[in-house]
């Protein structure tokens, strides 16, 4: 039987976590999983906090990943990594980037942007921090952050790299395929801390 995968993809509206989930879900379907993905729409897309759930198993019922059930949380933004941490299973893995997008509540001085590293250490979460800031500027397009993170995450699944690339080609608009493939490859090689 295939290992059950409960994945949370969290970030800020506009960071492309629906596309990330779509590509990932597609790959998981191809290797024989039953897959469900649940996405967020509407108000949350205007720079709000967003979460997408990807579930894969022999048979999936609920499209939601429940509290304390995720074996992976993939965050596209540091503060969002903290916000959803209750969803992580004991000994699950949090993957997050060196990337901050301060919410308006921070910009206007109502709140402080927390010291994410410190809190994560205190509560004892297993993490991989991915340094992508420089890579993104080298690629010259911050919109491929999602495929970059996907490249990194793909190493945790024993699934052939080519399947991911094929899924990227199928799900990304023609003119953006090349840069997304490049981002994926770069992501796959990142050393995490």
């Amino acid at each position: 039987m295939k290992e059950r995968l409960n994945i949370l993809v969290v970030g800020v509206g506009g960071q492309g976590n629906i596309l990330f989930s779509k590509i990932l879900g597609d790959v998981l379907l191809r290797v024989g999983y039953d897959v469900k993905i649940s996405e967020v729409h509407g108000m949350a897309q205007r720079g709000g906090s967003v979460v997408t759930y990807v579930k894969a198993a022999e048979k999936v019922f609920s499209p939601l990943v429940d509290i304390a059930q995720a074996n992976f949380i993939i965050a596209f933004e540091k503060l969002e990594a903290l916000r959803w941490i209750e969803y992580l299973k004991k000994d699950g893995l949090l993957i997050y980037p060196d990337y901050e997008i301060p919410p308006i509540s921070v910009i206007t001085g109502l709140y402080k942007y927390p010291d994410v590293e410190k809190i994560l250490q205190e509560i004892g979460v297993k993490t991989c921090k991915v340094e992508i800031k420089n890579l993104l500027s080298s690629l010259g397009d911050s919109r491929v952050q999602n495929t970059l993170m996907l490249g990194y995450f793909s190493r945790f699944l024993s699934i052939d790299e080519s399947l991911f690339k094929k899924s990227i080609e199928n799900n990304v608009k023609k003119e953006f395929i090349e840069i997304n493939l490049k981002a994926f490859e770069l992501g796959r090689k990142i050393e995490s801390v």
Partner: protein
């Protein structure tokens, strides 16, 4: 081939396969993608209607003519369409008529939580409720068959989690379905004499449907191995299967009318049966009304918000779940904000500066003007309500209170026009600010009669809002550029004091819309000139933030230049090159 499909896209696919000829809607999350996906099929005529009432009327026409039709909306849209709904229940259909209504438990993007099943029951129409994308395809087809067999419109009820989840489906082929049109005023002209006859028919139809529900295959029992039993439908069914894989479950594919014998029979087998349903105790009350008493429902399950497998478990077993990792401090909330460069920002910045003015708001991106840093909105009730409410407030105060109604272009067409007619007719003194971003922004850039494009992207007649408002009898109709902050402050102040119903149309296209091209000249802050006074932060622009000093994130800046206008020290400059 197996593929992943969004629930809404699966509904569209089902329509395609079922030979649907006409599809109509007004966009509204979580239902929007149904119609967007249908628009990709050339075989189906498809349109955005100005509101849900019109949309349903169009679909009714198509059905009577003998072509299968679907009309889609969100739960609050069904209120707008309630008028034709209650009567089409009487006339019935010719070719099948399906009304897809997406409820939003948890209010991910809605102003209330409302249970469509209640309206369906009141209108005496059957309701099907799919639980995943494959069922979305299947139930659309079954819905059309029921519609034609029983001469009734059928409601396909979705909830956000079904509409916006992707699960695996197998696609089929299209089948063309054509019925002949026959004039029949006894059936289609609902004046009292005929309507009385049809009401008898409707009551009989409901009894027939009840019988039919007993044998309908989509009402089914999952046999369990453990002594725990549930009745559920839709997404709640999935949650139960995950929380209690070995339980007995009576899954209702048709949630109205109910298969009474089947339910009685099922409940008699167990000491206790749990009824799991999000929102209202619809199944619970109707099952209790059958004289069944060994059921447990809302006394342990909540009436509000979404459910989850762990919520169901927690409610039944009365124990907390262990959460291994918790953050013990309040994290900075991340509310949605107007996008960088959004034209609405300029208007709300100005409105925020006005004192002693009530601002009635409406539904759309600009509802975000109610939040900090603008705090420039007092109300938001429903589509189009801002105008009528402004008129009401003005009169309640004997015209002493100055009121500004804000409304979007799409919303104005949806149901703001009638409000303006009312205000003009009754001699109001209000300012209506139409924030015209030339699209339906919040739901993802759908077209409408004043964008000049159809749902297929083809050119259409472009309704001119300024001309329209003049014809409606507004005392002043002015067009303003939302980016001219300083100018607009004076203009709006002046307009507020002019007697009559004044309209200012703040026109600038949505910055996220692909159709419009913008000259981008990114700004930066000259640290020599900047006094760090933080004035520019009051724009709530995601591109401007502060570490020790204020700075502009050039990845986010779209060069709208509004910050430049408000910096008193000339510290915000345009990048060269």
């Amino acid at each position: 081939m197996k593929k992943l499909l969004l629930g809404n896209h699966a509904v569209a696919r089902g329509c395609y396969e079922a030979g649907v000829k006409v599809a109509t809607a007004y966009p509204g999350t979580p239902s929007t993608e149904i119609t967007e996906a249908i628009a990709k099929y050339d075989e189906i005529y498809c349109e955005w209607a100005p509101n849900e009432k019109v949309a349903l009327e169009v679909a009714i026409g198509a059905s009577i003519y003998g072509r299968r039709a679907i009309c889609s909306m969100k739960h609050v849209g069904l209120n707008v369409a309630a008028d034709p709904l209650f009567t089409v229940s009487y006339t019935g259909v010719n070719a099948g008529l399906l009304i897809a209504v997406a409820d939003d438990p948890g209010m991910h993007s809605s102003q209330n939580e409302q249970d469509t099943r209640n309206i369906a029951k009141a209108a005496k129409v059957p309701v099907l409720e799919p639980a995943d994308s494959q069922e979305c395809i299947d139930f659309v087809k079954i819905g059309f068959e029921i519609s034609e067999k029983f001469d009734t419109p059928v409601i396909l009820r979705l909830t956000t989690r079904v509409a916006h989840s992707q699960s695996v489906v197998e696609e089929g082929n299209r089948e063309e379905i054509v019925f002949e049109y026959k004039k029949d005023i006894q059936k289609y002209v609902m004046m009292p004499a005929m309507a009385r006859v049809r009401h008898e028919f409707v009551e009989k139809r409901l009894r027939d449907l009840k019988e039919f529900a007993e044998t309908l295959k989509i009402n089914k029992i999952d046999t369990g191995t453990k002594e725990i039993a549930f009745i559920a439908s839709g997404i709640a069914y999935q949650y139960i299967k995950e929380a209690y894989p070995d339980a007995w479950v009576l899954k209702l594919g048709m949630v109205w009318p109910l298969p009474e014998k089947m339910i009685k029979d099922f409940c008699s087998k167990f000491d206790k049966v749990y009824i799991v349903e999000e929102l209202d105790p619809f199944l619970e009350e109707n099952i209790k009304a059958l004289g069944i008493n060994n059921i447990v429902g809302k006394e342990i399950f909540k009436l509000t918000g979404e459910y989850s497998p762990s919520f169901i478990k927690k409610s039944i077993e009365n124990r907390e779940i262990d959460i291994p990792y918790k953050v013990n401090q309040a994290l900075a909330p991340r509310f949605p904000v107007l996008c960088p460069g959004c034209p609405h920002r300029g208007i709300f910045y100005v409105l925020g500066k006005l004192k002693d003015i009530i601002i009635t708001g409406d539904i759309g991106c600009y509802t975000l003007g109610a939040l900090s840093p603008f705090n420039a909105m007092d109300t938001c009730v429903c589509m189009g309500a801002s105008v009528g409410m402004a008129h009401g407030i003005s009169n309640a105060s004997d015209k002493k209170q100055k009121v500004v109604a804000v409304i979007g272009d799409s919303t104005f067409i949806h149901s703001g026009i009638t409000g303006v007619i009312d205000a003009v007719y009754n001699g109001s003194d209000i300012l209506v600010l139409i924030l015209d971003n030339s699209t339906t922004g919040m739901t993802g850039h759908q077209d409408h009669p004043s964008t000049g494009y159809t749902i297929k992207g083809e050119q259409a007649y472009k309704l001119d809002l300024a001309t329209l408002c003049k014809i409606l009898g507004c005392s002043v109709v002015e067009e303003i550029n939302p980016y001219n902050i300083n100018e607009n402050l004076e203009k709006i102040k002046k307009l507020i004091d002019v007697p009559g119903v004044k309209v200012a149309i703040a026109r600038a296209p949505c910055r996220l819309h692909r159709r419009y091209k913008f000259a981008v000249s990114k700004r930066y802050i000259d640290s020599q000139k900047c006094k760090n006074c933080k004035m520019c932060l009051n724009l709530g622009c995601p591109a401007i933030s502060i570490k020790e000093r204020v700075f502009i994130n050039e990845n986010l800046c779209l060069g709208c230049g509004m910050c430049e206008t408000i910096c008193k020290f000339g510290a915000i400059l345009t990048q060269k090159g």
